[in-house]
Symmetry: C2
Subunit: 344 residues, 2 copies
DNA sequence: CTGATAAATTTACGCGCGTAAAATTTTGAT
DNA sequence: ATCAAAATTTTACGCGCGTAAATTTATCAG
């Protein structure tokens, strides 16, 4: 970019120096493909010589819809969501939209606040991973009625234009099968039921066990926060010191819980794994970014990050560019993949 | 909020229903304290009856500076940054500003892109944790000349209005002292030098060892990415299988590296800790959110998250509300605190 | 009650761009 | 070269609000 002393202050001026009329320039910025190639070339040449960017605020003031996309995750300090958010951001940028990332920090009130502040930004659409059970359903539903909203990770039945997530009824039975096949039938340590995935995974576990003719054994942990490691550690320690788990094989409803439990087992001097001398096996769910660096490395089910984020974005833009009116409400589920490591 | 059929569409209309003139209402929204209490009460009463929010875009168009604050971290999938970002967000909101969170994803080009897009948002200020060594210093410096910018976590000398971070020359000697006092003099496993902290910590280690009359032993790891766990694991495994570390006591330049090394040690069947039967000690730096759930739990130095984020925000707003012109460029360093756990 | 001062109102203009409608030019095929 | 269709230009208006200047009103001490 060649520095030029003449600062361009508005589109009028930029149109002048590029020899194109302002309305056409405006059209270019809203949709570069909508102007003749020769015109586009001239504009882009001028763009290279003078560095001009349209005023974001003036631009969006008279637009019914902006090119902004809201992304909301329940808990950004969880690397799982950080990773998904990154994927989604990239996909939005690739489509010429501006992602705006927000975290609810596990707080339903903040979730609503974010939605309200987002509403006044006139976003083209929103990708929302709801907090879940404690979400203000009415507020979210009201928002989604006005703004095209795709849910991901955690479903709120009937709300939004659709849902993209993992198929817990495929992934959980898969790892239950694996665990049963290779050892004692597992018990299930369940995360606090912050969202529907918690319940679905429990149900999937129970169903899978029954199909195998085994007795399901569910251990429900108290709490309503997102500090799963701590819950897993604290409750794991308590149970281990209190007679132990009903099975030597423990399936945790997510990896963060398993990370906590692994720490508790380690502290108790229990050797975890499927090798010789191991007295306990622990498995998780999600393939958390750190799951391969636990001790021992964590056997788990991977969620298909790429597909989930890609598909959420695709669905949203199909909706947005189709005028915002969806006929059905698709629920798209991706299958998990068994990730066999050392812990089970 | 009582629903009202009459939708308020602009400030004109809202001013009418609240019985206050539009300019005064405008003044209220920009600074509620700047209008008479009785007036404020009437406005807020109307605000409760009719739900109206000023149009963000029209609002910011004619403002030289907005109430937006940019927050940029190098790598959001690192819970350390996610936590700091959360603190900073909260502090901004508490002051009536709108935080806009961005992650460079370890990519210098994206760092610049974010800055450029931020520039057109006319933010009141920016809080930047730079990528570090690979940052485009010129671009960042140019940006910081136009927009009040506070650096945190990682310093770029001379750039921005100031820096807030940890005092590596206090924290590292502190843990070196502890390790020496309680066992063999540690060697130092160094993260890829992605930012100045890497170098400072090495220098601090060397200085501390020399003062204690010990021979410093630095192990530098290759790489320029942010996947520290992987580096720590891969290189740790290599070194352990290749004659081992020069000391049974390994100080890692950050926790994520230590997490990788712990995994490598576990895999190699090496018992880590300061207890009986342990043949190796591993310590980290930062007090990463997961450090207490490693196996064994990680002895480390905590960074003072709260103070760092609070002070960054305070400094930025002192600058912003002081007109944007700073005379000096303070470098504020907070002390670390020794967190003794089981790994060393 | 008076006067000084602070606050609110009235009036008026402009910001930078979206966008509609009509006139004009360019394009690409005949 | 001819002509219809597509793209561009001209012209013109409005969005919702910030903000300045002049005027009016409210406030409070004396």
């Amino acid at each position: 970019m060649i520095a030029v002393s003449n600062k361009i202050k508005n589109m009028e001026e930029f149109a002048r120096v590029s020899g194109i009329s302002r309305p056409t320039v405006s059209k270019y910025f809203n949709e570069p493909e909508s102007v003749r190639p020769s015109t586009r070339a001239r504009i882009e040449e001028a763009l290279a010589r003078y560095d001009y960017r349209p005023n974001v605020y003036a631009m969006n003031q008279n637009r019914r819809l902006t090119k902004n996309v809201g992304i909301i995750v329940p808990y950004l300090a969880d690397p799982f969501f950080a990773e998904i958010a990154r994927n989604i951001e990239d996909a939005c940028i690739a489509r010429g939209y501006t992602p705006m990332l927000h975290s609810s920090h596990g707080d339903p009130a903040m979730e609503v606040e974010i939605l309200e502040s987002l509403r006044s930004l006139k976003p083209a659409g929103v990708l929302l991973a709801p907090i879940g059970r404690r979400s203000d359903r009415k507020a979210v539903a009201a928002f989604a009625k006005h703004v095209p909203t795709m849910l991901f990770d955690s479903n709120l039945e009937g709300i939004g234009a659709g849902f993209v997530g993992s198929d817990n009824f495929q992934s959980v039975p898969m790892i239950v099968d694996y665990l049963c096949r290779t050892g004692e039938a597992p018990c299930f340590m369940e995360m606090p039921p912050v969202n529907p995935n918690a319940n679905k995974r429990r149900m999937a576990y129970v169903g899978a066990m029954e199909r195998l003719g085994k007795e399901p054994q569910v251990i429900s942990l108290p709490g309503d926060g997102w500090n799963f490691e701590e819950v897993g550690f604290r409750e794991g320690r308590r149970i281990l010191g209190d007679g132990g788990f009903p099975s030597s094989n423990v399936l945790c409803s997510n990896d963060r819980l398993a990370i906590g439990l692994l720490a508790a087992a380690y502290e108790a001097g229990i050797k975890v794994g499927h090798g010789a001398g191991c007295s306990m096996r622990i498995a998780g769910h999600d393939d958390h970014p750190f799951a391969r660096y636990t001790c021992p490395s964590l056997t788990t089910v991977s969620q298909d990050y790429d597909s989930i984020s890609q598909r959420s974005v695709d669905s949203l833009f199909a909706l947005v560019e189709g005028g915002g009116k969806a006929t059905s409400r698709p629920e798209i589920l991706f299958e998990g993949r068994l990730v066999m490591r050392d812990s089970a």
